[in-house]
Symmetry: C2
Subunit: 478 residues, 2 copies
Amino acid sequence: MTPDQFREYGHAVVDWVADYWAGLAAGPDGARPPVQPPVSPGWVAGALPPTVPERGEPFEAVLADLDRIVVPATTHWQHPSYFGYFPANTSGPSVLGDLVCAGLGTQGMLWSTGPACTELETVTLDWLVDLLGLPARFRSDGPGGGVIQDSASSAALVATLVALHRASDGRWRESGVQDRFTVYASTQGHSSIEKAARIAGLGDRAVRLVDVDERLAMRPDALAAQIAGDRAGGATPALVVATVGTTSTTAVDPLAAIGALCREQQIWLHVDAAYAGAAATCPELRWTHAGVELADSYCFDPHKWLLTGFDCDAFWVADRSELVQALTVLPEYLRNAATATGAVIDYRDWQVPLGRRFRALKLWFVLRWYGVEGLRAHVRTGVALADRFAGWVRADDRFELVAPHPFSLICFRLRAPDGVNEALLHRLNATGSLFLTHTKVRDRFVLRLAIGAPATAAGHVAAAWRQIQQAATELLAG
Amino acid sequence: MTPDQFREYGHAVVDWVADYWAGLAAGPDGARPPVQPPVSPGWVAGALPPTVPERGEPFEAVLADLDRIVVPATTHWQHPSYFGYFPANTSGPSVLGDLVCAGLGTQGMLWSTGPACTELETVTLDWLVDLLGLPARFRSDGPGGGVIQDSASSAALVATLVALHRASDGRWRESGVQDRFTVYASTQGHSSIEKAARIAGLGDRAVRLVDVDERLAMRPDALAAQIAGDRAGGATPALVVATVGTTSTTAVDPLAAIGALCREQQIWLHVDAAYAGAAATCPELRWTHAGVELADSYCFDPHKWLLTGFDCDAFWVADRSELVQALTVLPEYLRNAATATGAVIDYRDWQVPLGRRFRALKLWFVLRWYGVEGLRAHVRTGVALADRFAGWVRADDRFELVAPHPFSLICFRLRAPDGVNEALLHRLNATGSLFLTHTKVRDRFVLRLAIGAPATAAGHVAAAWRQIQQAATELLAG
């Protein structure tokens, strides 16, 4: 494809994306696509030919198939009535930053293979330290530093690895998992903690799920007891993962108490704020991060709630030298003058893969386009809409809130058996006009309404509540 | 950013990318940027402000800083005279597929969160099985299946994990690394194999680097002896990684003999064809893959030499059920009706992270735009240019080829001490008009010239050779 063809088709694709977004954001009377498509498994595969075409096809044919095959089978995460899981924010500046990334085609494994790719990442991650009010020692001008991982799962894995490196006094690198290491999270911790422990060769049994209090936050006393018991049993506690904003209900673990215990016990503390870290952009929400200065590592996902498209997990360590020691392997073909000086960051040593995209571009575009004000406004909108929704739930005796809602996720249920709540969720999602997911809290089936898609406005949340009330009325009437 | 603003700025960014490419591809008289920028560490960071702007900035300011800060500090992987490492191909259709991916903002962790995202990936990976002449059992309509990983490093890690799962009869999942597992690759294997073993908790000591023959290919007899010795010493051999096209010199390990041994010894065979897999699109180059039907897993990178932008590693397993068993963790909040039927693929269980982008779009755009003919033509151009370059090296008595060149990488050196060859590389790269990297072969310093950037044509390779000859003349004259 020549640059001129790219220009022509590129304009067409930009228009296609703009039209797609405009279609999703159409007013209540516009014909918006169903949030979750009503397709059966195999529908997409059945619509595609069996092999690569022998000769190249016109670009117009590919573009037409987006509308024919892809859109009708897409769960629309950018739909204003998308309330499932957590949001997967994107935005215009993010998409355009990613477009520049793709156009440059830089592979930033080493500083020398992408100086701008490396330094822009370091600087934007330093910016985020200040924006979120994180500890200054996470900044690259101190002993720490930040890096973009693809996801909080990968951040949890990297934290696990460097924690093992530290807990074994560096023997792990050469000798592997020799001790009986243990890892701690609350019963509400993310599944990626278990997955990281499994990948790291500890096995699922190494993961201790610590009891929570009535707010679904980790109990420091239970953590202390578990650690003491494990030590008595001959295990080596290596890592505690505390969560700010659990996936199930956005519970906030008490970082200060957990951190103090980790310091005393010399255990690596990783703080997973994948979704809720974005809230720390707002000073009035920073209480959720009290104690974060005790963390050895911390991550949050701008790709969840900070207007930056997936994949963009921001991960920091307080001591970058340990991280690099844990993960570096230097074959001859990667040696270069800049690396040899020791004066540069080679991000390949901060992650599992060797190669890396220029992901800092989209983050940079977002931070500059929105500014501090714009980013805070986005978060505050979500929190305010969630507050309003919670008020409506509280005011309807048929419903109950089942967990605190410090951010923009509301967990609620009908005061009715699980089956009725399951039926309610199914009935709502089957309409296609909104999308919610579920969890279990204290073994009860609970609906989750996560606000934060960039296009979501007050009217969409109000419409969702009307629809939920209406569906409940129909269900309860039998 | 409104859809209309996105339209306006999007056209501007598309034009920016087109202009960037046109600038790189300018004829010999055009003022092309240096392939590797002459910037010092800290230059980019120093050009950026210390914090996120308080208020959002105009998009034009961001775009202007691309030219002021980013481009002058970018190693131009898409430059026609980029001959370093391996190519990191991108192309117009790839960039535009990625643009659609960013615009949709789909998070395809589950089939249900992205039916098109999931099925288009399954189908395009099935297409590639046929395009490359890979074993039919890798196809999703048999027991196997393909998935896009970010990189061959991650593929090596996933292969390591499922190999441990098999070698431990499934105990690894719960109990972690209990046995003394060993992993095998040739001395020329990629550093990601060692990194994967480290991440998986085996430690660097678990990796056995097997001796190679005069073509730098793994010696099956040496592998057999090493395995027998390890078994006698109480170890459990778990994984052999054979390479088609090593990073250092593109050596080809004999898959048939290695595969037969792995079958006999019941050891998982992973084939890493990260760079050279693209060559299998051409029937006349499939001899390099003889024996691949014995592999338990296989990967190659369309993002290296098949016109698809990073990140796109295509990874297959012959038995997908083992892979899913090894990696699945299913918390309540991810349960859904489609998963419960067992009739869909949830790709989150095929990889380390939970979240995933709609990467199949760029691959689909590339396969359709170029077709089989276009893809083969790209590979054949690289191979033919490499042949021609090798002929020139052979015809100049001052130089020698140091390894076979079945693909499009030439490894060569001056018949002179290492210091002279190092000086030659430095002198060439300092001009900025081309970029090569180096390796060591049998402890001697060797220059690598990797052909395959999409913009590279015969004239660029001829110009590189003239420049190499000229620099050698100057150097040898002292």
